[in-house]
Symmetry: C2
Subunit: 205 residues, 2 copies
Amino acid sequence: MTSPLKTHDKIRHAAAALFAERGYSGTSMSRIAERVGIRKASLYNYYSAKEELLLDLLEESLQSWEDSCRLSLVAGGSAEERLSGHLLAVIDFARKNPQKVGIVRLAATQVGGKLGRRIAALIEKHEQHSLPLLSRFFSEAKANGDVDATDEDLLLFWSVFVDGILINQLFATPKAEHYVNRLPELWRLFWRGVSGEEPDRELKG
Amino acid sequence: MTSPLKTHDKIRHAAAALFAERGYSGTSMSRIAERVGIRKASLYNYYSAKEELLLDLLEESLQSWEDSCRLSLVAGGSAEERLSGHLLAVIDFARKNPQKVGIVRLAATQVGGKLGRRIAALIEKHEQHSLPLLSRFFSEAKANGDVDATDEDLLLFWSVFVDGILINQLFATPKAEHYVNRLPELWRLFWRGVSGEEPDRELKG
DNA sequence: CCTACCGATCGGTAGG
DNA sequence: CCTACCGATCGGTAGG
């Protein structure tokens, strides 16, 4: 019973796909319009400029990513269970929404100019929601003796670990499944690093 | 006694800086020429097309990266010393050559079309030099009991770790120094993950 | 949502 | 290494 997409949503989908594939400058408004099946000028009924279209997509990508991953971290269970659950949520989101991750990656690399500054501000705004949550998680885990390092180092190691997985999943596209299949092993090495001990149970995806 | 740069080198420097900042499509041949101080048409005495310019820069970046990091892995010392030395070499190269790393990142994201295929082929060619070296390192380390995981998992965990650090260093540019200062702590967590034991000595950059 | 159009700029070539 | 130029396309607007 899926109703046909409204034009505005078709624009979002077409633009997300093209931006993620070809980059911001590499994607023209005409090509987006062509994929939607309308004329370029009609796009300007929905967005006043190409820049606004990208920022709308970025905002939505960041928001839905945050929404998909926040809960897992504050759910019940041991620190190990909660953090591994969070990892699975992040990876799962990236697998199911490669274009949204692509938009975030694209935006993050667009550092120059006014557009770059607006993007940086948007990303920072969202980090102010997600980082404190992680920070609190690690301090509690440390207080409980579940992990063995300062909160700051744990947060850093976590960022490195997650970003590294995402990058490898995103770039080595033909081998992306390979990485996902190896998550339990990667998790074992990661958890041994942060806790100094073997994980209690194997990660299951 | 640094002699003035020849035009060809000026072109390479200007193009690398602009590509790294603005991306491939976001950088025009006129702008490159402008920064060099010549006319756009003159660029075509050095490169037959914009595409060739990017590929030349990419080849050179990959080659000099490889040259800077290969030795550290096959030097003398314990497995821990060699791998941590290799990590320092990689990070140090990235710090000193942000534009070269930027070119590689840019190129890796350019997946579509004929250009994307040529880039992928170039990157794959270079991986055929570097990956076997790492692979052999991990198998020997495992045979010696220095690490505790399969070679394949170690290689994967290593890639994730290094790429994660590079990404965080590249993107969170204002805080890049912060990451570099935390390398010893990150290394400790990483090494505990791969070996199951505390490192013998602190990493020194 | 369209046709018709704007000035600017794109990558690249001719010819010297 | 230059001037002069090419056709194509860019983001965006006017007006309906």
